[in-house]
């Protein structure tokens, strides 16, 4: 596996969020989803910086939405996974799942010191 395929945990979160959000994935929704699910207070800048890097690796691509149908509505920079991104995501989650198998995540009980 080429080195550049490796995903950091935050990159993984962003990719997973993009995958989950589908056609509604853009900065705000990605940040909110990671925030809600992981409790990590995500900055919009970090999301954009990460998306930029993922785009460099060819894992995500951008399209501009039609203007939102409200007064002063704006366009959004929508994110979607590229086939390569989807493969990388599948590989990473697969490895993760394999690694998790058989791991007892609950901390071992013992006498408090």
């Amino acid at each position: 596996m080429p080195k550049s395929d490796h995903l950091s945990d935050f990159e993984l979160y962003v990719m997973l969020a993009v995958a989950a959000l589908g056609a509604d994935a853009y900065g705000v929704t990605i940040a909110t989803r990671i925030d809600e699910r992981t409790g990590r207070n995500v900055s919009i800048g970090a999301v954009y910086a990460t998306l930029g890097r993922l785009a460099d690796k060819g894992f995500v691509s951008f399209t501009l939405s039609d203007p939102v149908p409200i007064r002063g509505g704006r366009t959004r920079k929508l994110v979607s996974l590229t086939p390569a991104g989807a493969r990388a995501l599948a590989r990473t989650t697969e490895s993760l799942r394999n690694m998790l198998a058989g791991v007892r995540l609950r901390p071992a009980t013992g006498k408090p010191r």
């Binding site: 080195k3 550049s4 490796h6 950091s8 853009y26 900065g27 705000v28 940040a31 909110t32 207070n41 900055s43 919009i44 800048g45 970090a46 954009y48 910086a49 990460t50 930029g52 890097r53 007064r71 002063g72 704006r74 959004r76 920079k77």
Partner: protein, 882 residues
């Protein structure tokens, strides 16, 4: 309608975001901000927004900084590293990979920066730190000069002081002060306390705010008022347990019951680094016996807005008025004012400023050296830099890279320098003469101002290095570099830059060396000066006899006779003498000199000559030669006719043709007969020319306080314990005020010169070393660059000598150019030394010439090593390598 995020947040994030993302990111920010407002209100939303800015900028910058740069490091390591951090980490790794380069650079810088911080920390404490008195910048000390003899004193005749108080127009407060020790009875055992005497005007001028009770008021300046005392804070705390009920209590100080009226503020002291324990009113008799009886020190505070020049002209006016009104006492007496700071610091100020300049030059040389090292190394990196540029790294990017590396070097050097400075400033303080009374000297440390100074130095060096590195690896030469395989005309420009730097280094080093040589010559001529007496093997012990037990003359005669015989019993004691003035301590006490048979005309004032009270033993103990007549002996008693001894210079002035022996001089209302003529001595200091002196017999005055001069067979310091014990055995209540060998006194008097000599010597040595290393580095580089050429020359028949000459010639050009500039600058720069030099002209050709020769020799030696390497080049191997 949706609310937009605060503009400052949008602006900050906006500049950090790559343009391609900017509108979308900002819109998203607005959207999230609006949601935050809805959910949590404006305040929370603004907090959220601030945190967004804080956490967005670094990742965005990191991304942006790398968007168009070559990225040699693993991508993983770059994550979340901002551009700055990335550069620093990169630079750090490079430095770790080149430990020799790093160590050389950091040590060089540490020496330069450390020396600067150390000297600056002393300069800060002595010259810059505010004096601990409110409105200290308006405080002045009144000085007095006899314009005929040039003798200058800080003290003022009491009568003139009282006139000044009445006549002056520029001071809002003026007062008299002085210090002396006093014995306190009634608080534990009798205790010899440090006393400070002052008028209410002096305490007001100093802005004394008592910690407890009151300060002095005008009515305390009168002799009629009840005796009072203010306790020093530390004395009150340590001896009286900070008892707040001391006010109103009465203590006996010497023979007087005094009421405690106040406690001074913590740390209060004036004209001494030792805190006074008792502060007592200074009072004057309503009518002095004569206008030249009694002396005092005077401090005054200028009216707000008045300057030292105003004070000078007002004092000059008063001097003229007094001179015309009281010609007998005030003829040629002139008063002027010095700022308190100058009075406290004395001649250490020019010395310190000089040292700061010198150590600045050392740093400059250190920087030049480091710049050279960077330059040499940058050659190896030209290809890398060219590649970076070719791949699209902008100038800003490359600059940031160099800045990071320079910063790391400077920061490491600065940190190591700080450690050197902490040690160095302590050593420096120990070398400062005790006569420097600056309060800050008790507390020299690396404080905020010093740290700011250190940071500024570090920042300056950082920028300087980055500039050098950037010039040396200008990306606009990229194409030439890549095509030329790294060995193009560009390397010539680097060599020229490096040579120029070394020329500067040689010039600066010569200036420092010349300065050090001048000081060395002054110092040796100071030490070889004949003071007119011998100061080796003499111990001085200043004692004070308890006043209440030796009130009458007989008791004192008995006491001093006893002291003398007790001291004679100590093994090794050869001579014993008494005197009031310890030579070489700057003491300038004078007395008017007037012949009985040649009275000065009415309205004239006789000239002042040096005054000393001495026993016959004093001349023997100090080896002052007796030229005619006799020294004082048993014939001179309280009840015998007054006698005096004059120095050779005075005898010559008295009667250029015949002997002065047997002539009479005016002594107050009576006369004294001159019984002896002794050799001239340099009394005030080694730098002073011998002045006319007049000696009066100790036995005809018998003061309670005296200094014993004991000549011993061996090292007098070893005998000190025995000597003191002998005196104590006679009367255990005898107080020892000061004990010092005369050699120590002499050393103390040349201490400023010695301090400057040491430091300038160290700085000059460092400069010499660095200049040598600098030229060695450049010549080594030259030899490397020309190896192929040299190989060719050898192959074509050049001899070893030819090659040696080829390289040495290049070094010699650098050395001589630097020397020429250095001598030119040195001749001007050494003028700043004038006030410190003794018996040597600032442009002394031996010093400047010697410094130049030493430096040229060192530089040529540094060239010789690479030149020899060049001469040993094997043409077969070098040419085969190509």
């Amino acid at each position: 309608m949706s609310r937009r995020a605060p503009r400052i947040a949008t602006y900050l994030i906006g500049i950090a975001t790559p343009p391609s993302d900017r509108p979308w990111l900002l819109d998203d920010l607005d959207e999230m901000y609006a949601r935050e407002i809805e959910a949590h209100g404006v305040t929370r939303a603004n907090l959220w927004c601030a945190s967004q800015v804080a956490r967005s900028i670094l990742p965005l910058l990191a991304r942006r900084g790398r968007a168009n740069t070559m990225q040699p490091e693993s991508k993983r390591s770059r994550e979340y590293l901002s551009g700055v951090l990335y550069d620093l980490r990169h630079a750090f790794r490079r430095l770790v990979r080149e430990p020799a380069f790093t160590l050389a650079t950091v040590l060089t810088l540490a020496l330069g920066i450390g020396g600067n911080i150390a000297v600056f920390s002393v300069v800060e404490a002595v010259l810059l730190r505010p004096l601990p008195y409110p409105t200290a910048d308006r405080l002045v000390i009144i000085n007095h000069r006899d314009t005929r003899t040039g003798i200058t004193k800080e003290f003022v005749p009491t009568a003139d002081y009282l006139e000044m108080v009445a006549r002056q127009r520029v001071f809002d407060r003026i007062g008299a002060y002085g210090s002396s020790s006093a014995t306190v009875f009634g608080i534990g055992d009798p205790y010899r306390a440090r006393g400070f005497f002052a008028t209410s005007g002096a305490l007001d001028a100093l802005g004394l705010r008592t910690a407890l009770g009151r300060s002095f008021v005008a009515s305390d300046d009168s002799r009629d008022g009840p005796p009072i005392v203010i306790l020093g804070y530390e004395y009150w705390r340590d001896r009286l347990g900070s008892d707040p009920r001391v006010l109103g209590r009465s203590i006996k100080v010497d023979q007087t019951q005094r009421t405690i009226v106040g406690v001074a503020p913590r740390g209060f002291a004036f004209r001494s680094n030792e805190l006074p324990e008792l502060i007592m009113p200074m009072t004057f008799p309503p009518q002095a016996a004569t206008r030249r009886n009694g002396f005092t020190f005077v401090v005054a505070r200028l009216h707000a807005g008045r300057t030292l020049a105003d004070a000078a002209s007002d004092l000059a006016r008063m001097s003229r008025e007094l001179e015309s009104e009281f010609p007998e006492s005030n003829r040629s007496a002139s008063y002027w004012a010095t700022s308190l700071r100058d009075a406290l610091v004395g001649n250490t100020k020019p010395a310190l400023i000089l040292l700061l300049a010198a150590v600045g030059v050392v740093l400059l040389i250190a920087c030049v050296n480091v710049a050279n090292l960077l330059l040499a190394r940058s050659l190896a990196r030209r290809r890398e830099m060219a590649l970076r540029a070719a791949l699209g790294a902008g100038r800003a990017r490359v600059a940031a890279h160099h800045l990071a590396e320079s910063f790391l070097l400077a920061a490491l050097g600065g940190t190591a320098g700080l450690i050197i400075a902490i040690w160095g400033s302590k050593a420096l303080v120990a070398m400062i003469p005790r006569s420097v009374e600056a309060p800050g000297l008790n507390d020299v440390h690396i404080n905020a101002l010093v740290v700011v100074f250190a940071l500024a130095l570090t920042a300056l060096t950082t920028i300087a290095f980055a500039l050098v590195a950037m010039v040396a690896t200008r990306p606009d030469r990229a194409a030439a570099m890549l095509v030329g395989g790294g060995r193009t005309s560009a390397s010539g420009s680097v060599r020229r830059t490096a040579s120029g730097l070394v020329v500067a280094e040689v010039a600066l080093a010569i200036v420092l060396l010349a300065g050090a040589a001048l000081i060395l010559r002054s110092f040796s001529s100071l030490l070889s000066v004949d003071p007119g007496f011998k100061y080796d093997r003499v111990m001085t012990i200043t004692i004070s006899a308890p006043a209440d037990r030796y009130r009458d003359t007989l008791a004192r005669i008995g006491y001093y006779a006893g002291v003398e015989s007790a001291l004679r019993a100590v093994p090794g004691v050869e001579q014993i003498g008494h005197a009031a003035v310890v030579p070489l301590t700057g003491n300038n006490w004078t007395v008017p000199f007037e012949r009985v048979d040649q009275r000065v005309p009415p309205g004239e004032r006789p000239p002042e000559v040096g005054w000393q009270l001495a026993s016959g033993g004093f001349f023997k103990a100090l080896g002052i030669p007796l030229l005619a007549g006799r020294v004082f002996d048993q014939r001179d008693r309280m009840n015998t006719p007054r006698v005096a001894i004059v120095s050779a210079a005075l005898a010559k002035r008295y009667s250029p043709d015949g002997s002065a022996i047997g002539k009479q001089v005016v002594l107050g209302q009576s006369a004294a007969e001159i019984v002896g003529i002794v050799g001239d001595i340099r009394r005030a200091g080694l730098r002073d020319e011998p002045r006319p002196d007049m000696y009066f017999p100790f036995e005809q005055a018998l003061p309670l306080q005296t200094t014993l001069f004991v000549r011993t067979a061996g090292d007098p310091s070893r005998q000190l314990g025995l000597l003191q014990a002998a005196i104590k055995s006679l009367d255990p209540q005898t107080v020892f005020l000061e004990s010092q060998s005369l050699a120590e006194v002499a050393a103390e008097s040349v201490r400023t010169t010695k301090l400057v000599l040491w430091l300038l010597g160290i700085f000059a040595g460092t400069a010499l070393l660095l200049a040598g290393l600098g030229i060695y580095g450049v010549m080594s580089y030259v030899v490397r660059q020309r190896t192929r050429e040299i190989g060719t020359r050898v192959a074509l028949g050049a001899t070893r000598g030819d090659i040696l000459w080829l390289i040495m010639r290049q070094g010699a050009v650098i050395a001589f150019t630097g020397a020429a500039i250095g001598v030119a600058v040195g001749v001007i720069a050494t003028r700043s030394l004038t006030s410190i030099l003794y018996n040597v002209a600032p442009s002394d050709p031996i010093s400047i010439g010697g410094a130049t020769l030493v430096l040229i020799a060192a530089v040529l030696l540094a060239c010789y090593m690479p030149a020899r390497r060049a001469a040993a080049v094997d043409p077969v191997r070098t040419l085969a390598e190509q």
